[in-house]
């Protein structure tokens, strides 16, 4: 109860008055009562009562926290986390090589960033994930819904129809091969119309709309509790033009990143962002690096970079807390994201796109 008055979430003018009148802790405020408070600092009785209610709410919250109550706290043992992570599902991408390097697929409660040059397949992967997140659990999916926030306008419904149809057919084939009853039941709800009606699409034209939408997302997600994937296609686009004040941009981006992390954790959903590439002009050469600067690189937990190599599309896992850096090739067919036939895994030791600041991983030699 020894909370200082300055830390309470009251209006600044009120706080200044309380400080001037000499109040130091929350307990003093509660002891004084609304009438005494209003007389001492010269505010109306209603305002005093309101302020006291806020104080009481805060102190109750504090007490629950210090008594070890769950819910408000975010602490748990590593064992609990391990159990949670093992039972958590992944969102598969239908490209087994990509799933392998990601450790099973796109992880829930983490932010994954996909960077790439234009035309390499970022939006395709986002559309594939928006369909894959809805795969029923008996087929290995997470049976969730998807929110798609589009800032570039590259979402094509017809393409999603193609991808969804291929996915449904794939599940039908599995069901036929395995002949289990729950497969049949799940397939009834896993139809084209259902898939499309569970993709919630928002079109944001500039960064203000994007900010507003992200502020409103927690409310939306609590209304639609089955959402397991939030895709923001093109987080770089609205921030790259019309921004003279770079420090404001960094601040807004960091705020966005924080909110997305909170959303990912609270609602157990995966957040996928796509980023553009920009050219960094060095002393003698220029390299393609992800846009939005170095400080944005810290926002995402997992970073995938898509690039071309002689007409072959490659995906590199650039940053991940649990998987090692590797590159695989993938294909985009009319059915969506797929492996290259036969699935080939190339090792990225030749130093094509390695970050010079990272020490290259050396394979251990077996004697």
């Amino acid at each position: 109860m020894q909370r200082e008055v300055g830390t309470l979430p009251l209006a600044p003018a009120l706080r200044a008055r309380l400080a001037a009148a000499g109040f130091q802790t929350a307990q003093e405020l509660l002891d004084t009562g609304p009438c005494g408070l209003s007389k001492e600092i010269g505010i109306s009785k209603e305002e005093a009562l309101e302020a006291l209610q806020v104080v009481r709410q805060e102190c109750h919250g504090d007490a629950a926290r210090t008594a070890g109550g769950s819910g408000a706290t975010r602490k748990c043992t590593a064992l609990e986390l391990l159990e949670e992570e093992q039972t958590q599902g992944f969102i598969i991408t239908f490209c087994s090589a990509l799933d392998n390097i990601l450790g099973g697929g796109v992880q829930l409660t983490k932010i994954t960033e996909i960077c790439g040059a234009p035309g390499v397949g970022k939006t395709q992967l986002c559309m594939q994930l928006a369909v894959d997140v809805q795969i029923p659990e008996c087929f290995g999916g997470v049976a969730g819904e998807a929110v798609f926030i589009d800032t570039e306008g590259s979402f094509m419904v017809d393409r999603v129809v193609d991808i969804a149809a291929a996915c449904v057919q794939h599940c039908h084939l599995i069901a036929e091969a395995q002949q289990e009853e729950e497969h049949g039941k799940a397939l009834e709800t896993f139809s084209l119309e259902n898939i499309l009606s569970h993709i919630y699409y928002f079109r944001c034209h500039d960064y203000t709309e994007l900010l507003a939408q992200v502020y409103l997302l927690p409310e939306f997600l609590s209304q639609h509790s089955k959402v397991r994937l939030v895709v923001i296609d093109g987080i770089a686009f609205p921030f790259r033009h019309d921004f003279e004040d770079l420090s404001l941009r960094t601040r807004l981006l960091n705020g966005l990143a924080q909110q997305l992390i909170i959303i990912a954790n609270d609602h157990k959903s995966a957040v996928v962002l796509t980023n553009q590439m920009t050219t960094r002009i060095g002393q003698s050469q220029s390299t393609l690096v992800p846009a939005l600067g170095e400080s944005w690189g810290h926002a995402a937990t997992v970073r995938l970079i898509f690039h071309w190599d002689n007409g072959q599309r490659l995906a590199t896992l650039y940053k991940s807390p649990s998987q090692k850096e590797s590159t695989i090739a993938y294909h985009i067919t009319s059915h969506g994201f797929r492996d290259v036939q036969p699935p080939a895994v190339t090792h990225s030791r030749e130093g094509t796109e390695l970050n010079p600041r990272k020490r290259p991983r050396t394979e251990e030699e077996k004697q």
């Binding site: 979430p9 009251l10 209006a11 600044p12 003018a13 009120l14 806020v54 928006a130 798609f148 570039e152 306008g153 590259s154 419904v157 017809d158 999603v160 129809v161 119309e193 898939i195 499309l196 009606s197 569970h198 993709i199 919630y200 699409y201 928002f202 079109r203 944001c204 034209h205 500039d206 960064y207 203000t208 709309e209 900010l211 507003a212 939408q213 502020y215 409103l216 409310e219 939306f220 686009f237 609205p238 790259r240 033009h241 019309d242 404001l248 601040r251 807004l252 705020g255």
Partner: protein, 253 residues
């Protein structure tokens, strides 16, 4: 949406006045501030500020639609989803033709036929819907002065001799193609910004810009340091306005 005044976001009058003293008049200004700054500026408590934030966000957030609704809307009139180029193999590869509602870029080395293709598309757009056109006007922004009206008539007459059988029909078609010659980046940008009203007035169904690269390369020398940022600024701003126009009016650009 961003420049929406806070007054229209249903904030109380005194709140708006108080905010305007700090030069916060639009939703954009409001949302760019952090929570602490908002508390200081509005003089409200933390919870109140969060409620205000939600109110303002709701005022300028985009509307939600499911993918299913989008598909239904598209399938209601399938013919208006694409502008067929009448080159069958190209149409097949493009899944129907030049898509309406998004930007299409045509690039090639000089002399391959980009301007010719644009002229042909302009003719196609003026054709009635039953012949595969869009039955509307065309806005043609020409930066290289490569548009030739005679060639336009030649293409129209030889491609569709049965439709353009009279001079009057040809003249009617040429009247619906609005040509703007812009020679600098600034004028191109200004022209793009002013297109919204023209599209509604003249019932435009196709926008062609020939070409974006020539005017940009003329003015911005990439060897100078500051120019790269300015150039990409200009390009992205133009692109976002064009995207907005394409989507809003469902026309190909």
């Amino acid at each position: 949406m961003a420049a929406k005044k806070l007054r229209r976001a249903q904030l109380s009058q005194e709140m708006c006045e108080r905010l305007s003293r700090y030069q916060i008049t639009t939703c954009q200004d409001f949302l760019c501030l952090s929570l602490l700054e908002l508390m200081k500026v509005t003089g409200q408590s933390y919870y109140e500020v969060q409620k205000l934030l939600c109110k303002v966000s709701r005022a300028c957030a985009p509307k939600m639609q499911t993918a299913y609704e989008m598909k239904l809307r598209k399938s209601v009139n399938p013919s208006s989803a694409f502008l067929s180029t009448t080159l069958h193999s190209l149409d097949r590869v493009l899944h129907g033709g030049v898509p309406c509602g998004s930007l299409t870029e045509i690039t090639s080395p000089p002399g391959c036929g980009k301007t010719q293709f644009c002229i042909m598309l302009s003719v196609l757009a003026t054709l009635p819907v039953r012949m595969g056109g869009l039955d509307g006007a065309v806005i043609y922004i020409d930066t290289e002065s490569a548009f030739s009206a005679e060639r336009l008539i030649e293409i129209a007459a030889s491609r569709f001799p049965t439709y353009f059988d009279s001079d009057e029909k040809l003249l009617c078609m040429t009247r619906s193609i609005h040509l703007y010659r812009e020679l600098t980046c600034c004028s191109v940008l200004k022209r793009i910004m002013s297109l919204e009203e023209e599209i509604i007035l003249k019932k435009v169904k196709l926008i062609v810009i020939d070409s974006v690269a020539s005017v940009v390369r003329k003015e911005f020398d990439t060897k100078l340091q500051g120019n790269l940022a300015e150039r990409s600024n200009f390009l992205t701003r133009g692109a976002s306005v064009l995207k907005y126009l394409a989507e809003e009016f469902s026309i190909p650009v």
